[in-house]
Symmetry: C2
DNA sequence: TTTTATAATTTAACATGTTAAGTATATGAC
DNA sequence: GTCATATACTTAACATGTTAAATTATAAAA
């Protein structure tokens, strides 16, 4: 009888492993371009989300950027200092803040978007546009199934 | 005409964002159990890979566990000290080492595998076994398409 | 055999992941 | 209005992500 661990696939072929490898394949070519623009991937995610749906509170920002609360606090400290982001007290809730993109933050996002779009369309071309859309839909269905 | 950044979907619905969210959904319920067993997710990945295909060299270990070289060096230092892993000089290459699971490392992997299998079968049940297999296959096809 | 290039790690440095706890504020029950 | 509970952050602490560089060994070219 097989040991328990032999009832699991090799890590690289597991669900978690394949998801991590796929994410790395997608992001690895984009990181150097972000570094050239002077931001890390996580900082870029913050700016991206603020461009998508700012001004927002920190909890919404953390959720949308897929970052932990303490990470957002730390990242924002830096982005505020560099004036890429504007932070204001939340008039509706004294505990928190509302964050938005500054003009120079918006410029940085615009500049990096060009390359990101290029890279993504490369992936689309190689994998198939419809196929990629289906994959994203299936991933979202998986998330929904797991989280409820 | 739309700005470049408006030609990108909201981050949470992007390919990279969806992959990260899916991975988080999969791993979040497993981490507390790993913490109870006394290992972090990354340490567990190392033990997992050594169980799958040890003894192996550090580069193979890093690739299979989806970890950066410096991370593997650091993680191994701790696992060797805790005697979960055995490290030996590589007779075939003086630059590196060969790493394998110790008996207590194997025990830990056995113990955590039970819970991991449970969790994965829960995902399977909720999402569909065949559908999950298809998703993993599509992810691997995506990786292949991007990396070449 | 010698020289050059490449590779396998490790180290350094800084950013972020992750969990727990603290502080201040908001909400809900009574 | 008071009190208990929950929430939005922040801080602390430690682990790992990520890039660059260093060290040592191996492989390839001349």
């Amino acid at each position: 009888m097989k040991k328990n661990s032999k009832n699991l696939p090799p890590y690289r072929h597991s669900l978690a492993g394949t998801l991590l490898a796929a994410r790395e394949a997608v992001m690895a070519p984009i990181r150097p371009m972000l570094a050239e623009a002077g931001v890390t991937e996580q900082q870029w995610r913050v700016l991206r989300v603020l461009d998508d749906s700012g001004p927002i509170d920190l909890k919404t920002l953390a959720d949308s950027a897929l970052l932990f609360g303490p990470s957002v606090t730390r990242i924002l400290k830096d982005l505020v200092e560099r004036e890429l982001v504007i932070r204001q007290a939340n008039p509706k809730d004294g505990r928190g803040a509302i964050v938005s993109l500054s003009a120079s933050g918006r410029t940085l996002i615009e500049e990096t978007a060009t390359h990101t779009i290029l890279q993504l369309s490369l992936y689309s071309k190689k994998f198939g546009d419809k196929r990629l859309k289906n994959l994203i839909a299936e991933l979202r269905a998986l998330i929904k199934a797991i989280d409820g």
